[in-house]
């Protein structure tokens, strides 16, 4: 029993849990900033810039403004961070999976809303009008990308489920191990494309960061944050940068099985890095920020249509 408990603690805190995902996430932000810089023909910050930012913010004084509701203001980043860490435990890395047997897509999608809600509640709790604007924009973005997200997930579940219906991520991965990645079923390609377009919207990187537009509304909800809470929110973005591509890899590229576990995990991280490069780094380098209603229209017309097409195709047995 104790051995099992230790194993669990190890899983929670060290490997796929707290430490691993934080380090990987922050590294990915560093690599992302470096590659964006390189694409703009400039040298760009060192890879470990994410760590420097984090420790610097930890060293700064954290001010809680007078008009803020202190408990909500300080608890919001931690709730967001904790729910992201818990999410990582549910995502299977090919053969290696910690708790992926006990959860499925709907839980993950709802766990994804918690960081968004945490950002919004944190922003409004700070009592700053700019934060109010930022939070309202974040909510519109969330409404925007939720529809295509659910459409593509339903399409995959329907394809994987066949006659019986499954929402379980584990079964999806096993099914892909059996008959090839979901990405290569041509009926699911529009769903994969839709999911790819949803990833930057969910994470909130440059072209889709209507909520934290530092040029327009002064960092949106994060305006009153400084010091440790701000570090935590930056960490949330870093974690999301790892988790969303990881979900894509689990959902659509699940079939890439190799022998032992270690190789699996390494391959998983590489694939996640590749996906995050395609979906977040390239758009960041080439596209300017969306207007709010343009972003919403983009998600509810184009990307949702992609998801719907794939759902209809899968529905009629293709």
């Amino acid at each position: 029993m104790v051995q099992n408990m230790l194993m669990n603690l190890l899983h929670i805190f060290i490997f796929p849990g707290l430490l691993f995902v934080t380090v990987i996430g922050v590294l990915m932000t560093g690599i992302d900033r470096k590659l964006v810089a390189r694409m703009q023909k400039r040298v760009g910050p060192p890879i470990v810039q994410g760590f420097y930012d984090f420790f610097k913010l930890m060293g700064k004084e954290s001010i809680v403004p007078e008009a803020a509701n202190k408990p909500a203001f300080l608890a919001a980043p931690i709730i967001g961070y904790v729910s992201l860490v818990v999410m990582v435990l549910f995502i299977p890395m090919f053969s290696f999976s910690v708790y992926s047997g006990t959860a499925d897509m709907i839980v993950l999608i709802y766990l994804l809303t918690i960081p968004g809600v945490a950002l919004i509640v944190g922003g409004t709790a700070s009592g700053n009008p700019y934060a109010g604007v930022g939070a309202s924009r974040e909510m519109v973005a969330m409404i925007g990308y939720e529809l295509p997200l659910i459409l593509s997930v339903l399409a995959v579940c329907r394809k994987v489920g066949g006659s019986a219906m499954t929402f379980s991520l584990n079964e999806i991965v096993n099914w892909q191990a059996a008959n090839g990645c979901a990405l290569f079923q041509w009926a699911l390609i529009p769903a994969a494309l839709a999911f790819l377009l949803v990833i930057p919207g969910e994470v909130g990187t440059q072209p889709f960061d209507v909520a934290e537009a530092e040029t327009e509304i002064l960092e949106g909800p994060l305006i009153e944050y400084s010091g440790a809470p701000l570090a935590m929110f930056k960490l949330n973005t870093a974690l999301k940068m790892f988790i969303m591509p990881a979900m894509f890899v689990a959902l659509f590229l699940g079939g890439v099985h190799t022998g032992n576990v270690v190789l699996d995990v390494v391959l998983f991280i590489l694939l996640t890095g590749l996906v995050s490069f395609i979906t977040m780094t390239v758009p960041h380098a080439i596209a300017a920020r969306f207007k709010v209603e343009r972003l919403f229209k983009f998600y509810w017309t184009l990307v949702a249509a992609l998801g719907l097409v794939s759902l209809v195709l899968v529905w009629f047995g293709l």
Binding site: L35, A37, R38, M39, Q40, K41, R42, V43, G44, V282, A285, I286, A287
Partner: protein, 245 residues
């Protein structure tokens, strides 16, 4: 669905970044005739004060210290107030001020941003007096930085504008005949040729130190008797007399 810059972006990814690694690895040269930090050569300066006059932000100021036999003049250029328009450089007749191409002007303490230069200037007595073996060659006029000497060769006139003169003694050095000289006007009442010998000063002088002879137009003064009261100066209708202490 055109993705505008993708080919360029991906090409850049594999090409060398175009950043000039300035502070540590690369040295950057300012472009030609770049107006950077000011340099001041006190030896050339004649303290004409033109630069102070023309400097729009008023970034230049002069400090005089009276030292025996002259003055210790320091010019202070405040780089943090300078607007780098180089007007002072244009107006500096002697070329003492030059704007260099050194742009490294990020300092912590204010002192490094102050360009200072000082020199000793002998104090020059009284007025410029012209000797009589002057040949009106006009060299002194050319030498004067302030242009306060006017020489007219044909009708042989030579005038000196005392107000403008900064007593740089350039004319004295330049004159081939060495007939120019700054003579300290000795103290007491000084006569000038505007006098019409009306003998008013003689009558008003309380101690009767002045003798005027209207016929052969002569005017003398008894130095010892004169008590420098200045009544003659004030009463002279032609303002011919000046009192030098």
């Amino acid at each position: 669905m055109r993705l505008p810059f993708t080919p360029i972006a991906l090409k850049n990814l594999f090409s060398k970044p175009s950043t000039v690694l300035y502070p540590f690895k690369a040295e950057v040269q300012a472009p030609p005739n770049y107006r950077g930090k000011l340099t001041y050569d006190p030896t050339k300066c004649v303290n004409c004060g033109m630069c102070v006059k023309v400097c729009s932000p008023g970034a230049i100021n002069r400090i005089y210290e009276d030292v025996e036999g002259g003055q210790h003049i320091t010019y202070e250029f405040d780089m943090s107030s300078c607007t780098f328009c180089a007007t002072c450089q244009d107006f500096c007749s002697t070329g003492a001020i030059k704007l260099s191409d050194n742009f490294h002007m990020a300092e912590e303490d204010h002192e490094n941003l102050m360009v200072r230069g000082s020199y000793f200037k002998k104090s020059v007595p009284g007025k410029l007096v012209r000797g009589d073996d002057c040949v009106f060659c006009g060299l002194c006029e050319k030498a004067c930085p302030e242009g306060c000497i006017k020489v007219d060769r044909p009708n042989k006139t030579w005038t000196w504008d005392e107000a403008e003169c900064v007593r740089c003694e350039k004319c004295v050095q330049k004159c081939p005949k060495k007939c120019l000289e700054f003579k300290a006007a000795e103290s007491g009442v000084e006569w000038s040729d505007a006098c019409v010998y009306c003998t008013l000063c003689e009558k008003k002088c309380p101690v009767g130190a002045i003798k005027v002879d209207r016929a052969n137009k002569t005017w003398e003064i008894d130095k010892e008797a004169c008590i420098k009261c200045g009544t003659c100066v004030s009463v002279c209708p032609k303002k011919a007399l000046t009192l030098n202490d």
